[in-house]
Symmetry: C2
Subunit: 99 residues, 2 copies
Amino acid sequence: MMLHLICYDIENNRARTRLSKLLIKIGMERVQLSVFIGVLSKYEKEELLAKIEELVSEDPIYHVLCIPLHEDMLSGLDEIAKVPLDWEYLKGEKLCMII
Amino acid sequence: MMLHLICYDIENNRARTRLSKLLIKIGMERVQLSVFIGVLSKYEKEELLAKIEELVSEDPIYHVLCIPLHEDMLSGLDEIAKVPLDWEYLKGEKLCMII
């Protein structure tokens, strides 16, 4: 299980909406309009990537990045935000998000 | 010098455009609509983050992430794209991008 960031640019509205719904369904958190963060197992990631390939296959322009966020990377990450992310929640170390 | 990914959600059009122009000016490549990748030194990153803070300060909603992409992370990164990124170029290991 590891934290991952997924960001995408998908031209086709239908495919884009289907992808965002899929990411929410598998428990990832939307942190920006087209950026999601969440914990994925190796198997979940493989399944997700296969589904994304299928979703975007007919799209003329698409670009999706799935980046593993190692623990030691998080300390080197910079965030400039009105409302910073709750990283403990994203990592699954907390059961609810304090808002 | 290290490869970094910067992604943002900025509500204010003017601030968003100013940030994208700034990122292009300092040599980062736009890989998605609101995602840039490029090599930054520690000093360049500090300067850039300070400028971003200034740019977004009056925006009601903003979220910017600056993520260092270590070499060993790149091998674990997945990309689903019609036109995959030229990582050697992004890392500054090539002088031109083959298009």
